[in-house]
Symmetry: D5
Subunit: 117 residues, 10 copies
């Protein structure tokens, strides 16, 4: 019921549609072009169905990006894909809010809705 790295626990109120917002301000990965580190904040908002995200496993999942070479647009979509696969939410939004590079700041926002999936 969960991906290898993101653990879940049963939603304590499965009958109610409510929202959980999680922010991870300590995200870092590596730029595939320059090999230099990128920094950012990952923000996750979701309406759980049967399962919730276990926070300690989410932390370890986020840490795994530390030495991966990956672009901003890819990071954000990948996290959304992995979290949807792990907790099968009713709805989910992932925001990747990345630090300035070359005087330019980038924020990527991707969403999932089980009704459209």
């Amino acid at each position: 019921m969960s991906s290898p790295t993101i653990e879940t626990f049963p939603n304590p109120r499965p009958g109610r549609e409510y929202e959980i917002a999680i922010s991870c301000p300590e995200f870092t990965s590596v730029c595939p072009k320059t090999g230099l580190p990128d920094f950012g904040e990952i923000r996750i908002t979701y309406v759980p169905d049967a399962y919730c995200i276990e926070l300690k496993s989410l932390k370890y999942y986020i840490v795994e990006f530390r030495n991966r070479g990956i672009f901003f647009e890819h990071v954000t979509n990948q996290i959304l894909d992995d979290l949807v696969a792990a907790v099968h939410p009713r709805r989910m939004e992932v925001v990747g809010d990345f630090a300035v590079r070359g005087g330019i700041k980038t924020v990527v926002t991707a969403t999932y809705d089980a009704r459209n999936a």
Copy 2:
């Protein structure tokens, strides 16, 4: 007409649909996994029907979580359930805005609408 711990008083304008927003920045409970304290702010917004929440009893109700082991998702839904049972509002939202744990911040939002109950 009220739960054992949350007292109420008659709504002074029962004929008007108006909103009351209450914030309790001094919430603390205990993490069931680690036994260490958690901290947060509970924000309650509601449209009263026949009764309003008496603030002093709300304070004592919030204090009762101080030594309880309970997860963030459970806290927020429990407070919504208890307040709905106590004051039978037309609508209510409870937000649990919890302090960072392991570099990750969590906000849980649960809502009630008497028209859907």
Copy 3:
């Protein structure tokens, strides 16, 4: 056309639907339970019809609460009732944003719409 204490003046553009927002950060009244002073900010937003609120008389009206024992929910609804009676607006919102008491902050919002009255 005006209450005893709130004076009005003719709306300079009665044909246009426009909005006037007034904030009075220096509100104080007395808690009926403890006899101790309460503090807050009253914010009024309205669409005038034939009349506008004269600001000096509004100030004196607000000052009159200084020694009255009255609860937060009552204050906000009372001010809305008195202002509606005085200026017969198309629409009006009154927000009572009160200072922390016992570690808890309260904001009350009441609205009037002449189309529903």
Copy 4:
């Protein structure tokens, strides 16, 4: 095509519906009751049709209020009327955000829509 004091220039993209927001934080006029100066910020947002507001002439137009005795509600509606007459926008909003007087702050918002005119 323009009022005596507000000059215009041709909209460089007349085929596109886009928005121009202008703020003038250095507005001052005179209170007609007391003869004392009032201060505020005028904010203008509009969708141009054939013409745009020339900013230097707008500055001189705003300066002309410096010695005029005029109430807040009148100022805001007057500026909207004059700008609409000068540039014939598709839509326009004028906000007069005035400094505290007698412990009370006032913000007046007036809008124009060519489809309703």
Copy 5:
């Protein structure tokens, strides 16, 4: 598939409708009237279709305005036109947020939607 100066790369998730927000706080051009420099921030938000904007080429594109004489309204519409031509987005918004000139601040917002184009 791209304009001479703005390079693109294939959208890593072409099947998902998601948003990319880019801000360039280091924009400068020259006022055509006075010959003096203007400063501002360009903010771009878009939903990619087949292509994304390559950030390094965007930086060089923005730098090219440094010595051009051009008005605020024109800058914003020009950037939108060039970016739409380069990446053919589903939707795009460009905001030009310019520094105060003569005590007046200007923000121009232009949008594109492929469904209306």
Copy 6:
């Protein structure tokens, strides 16, 4: 050992020179000229000798100014005099930070040092 209205308790560490800073943001008095209320914040910083200020009695002491006609300069010096008489501190500073009147804001700061008294 204390003035009629300000109570004290024995300093728990009389041998150490340490500082206590207290702020009372809910101060109000009456302007002797206009009869209208004044608002402000009183900030007290002191190094205790044998006694400390009991906070509940300080609150009641501050409340007593509510209906007194008194100028800003007098309020601040009076509070310093009364507190020095009550707790005989080694050093004390009282700041009266008052709300804007007639577009002008006033802050009065008075200090006491037992070595100079």
Copy 7:
């Protein structure tokens, strides 16, 4: 004992060296070069000797600059001279904090000390 326009009142605690800080955020004058208005905030801090500045007369004194053509450096020194002549303080500082002109902001600070005069 006072200049024609700045009135004084006797210092209520002449034996104590204490500080009064006054800020006037609504200062405006006229640029002698361009004839266009300048805006700023005047901040006055002083230790009174026998007299204090009466605030209403200070307001009228500040208003008198409204139509005077005067440079920033002159304004600040002139106000210091006039206030010193009016209240004979032990020490005084006047800060003129002026709004941006041509993309450049200016703050002028002048001080007086009776011991050096």
Copy 8:
């Protein structure tokens, strides 16, 4: 070399006089008068001599105040005494910055200097 609850580790640069600042925003204790919880932030700044404070043990030490009835002045001095006994610093400052009670906020600052001890 350390108190029962505060552990230490050897200073990695004992020959250099440098400063370590630690803030614990999640402090809570119990008011001895009312039995209700108090909240605050404890800030510790010190120049280590032979030992540094181990942070995990500091966290457990701070948690131990959770159910103790103790006044603000006592808390701050007690923490300073315990930390000085545990790490024998060259210099140390402890600030107890406590949440508003009865509309009044209190900050207590106590310092230690080995040269004066």
Copy 9:
């Protein structure tokens, strides 16, 4: 008495030691290594002797850096040298506060004192 590009005017109060602080947030030059633009804010604080800096000429002087290749440390010292040569101040400080490059922010501060020159 002035450099070719920075004009001066006679100090209106040469007998008083007072301070003038000027900030120019719209500084841009070119990085000699990469040829890409740098951005920053130049802040100048000085005590005038016989002359003051004329602001319009200062603006043109700052604009001249727009196309010069020059490092941060050099910019700041160069501006200090040029301004000292132009106005012969009693004391002057120049701060160059430059925008982030490669995730690193730099601020350079250089001072002049005629007593040490």
Copy 10:
């Protein structure tokens, strides 16, 4: 004249005592106890003598901590030692401002002065 990793360039104004402040908000290392990443900001302020720090090499030097297990107190002192060895400044301060761990935030400040070395 420089360490293996930190490059230098000749000070452009060796005769003047001036200050360079550099902040690196994107510092990350690994906690030696838990193996989990730590995050923080390194701030360096120095008065150069014959050499200045070359910023690109500083960036690579900071990046080298990414996979090192090292405590906060050690990081800050190590950076100070390495930078002093590389540029032989007249004076230098290094601040390590680290993100919250276990609800506790730490800032370490170490300084060097060539006159005391």
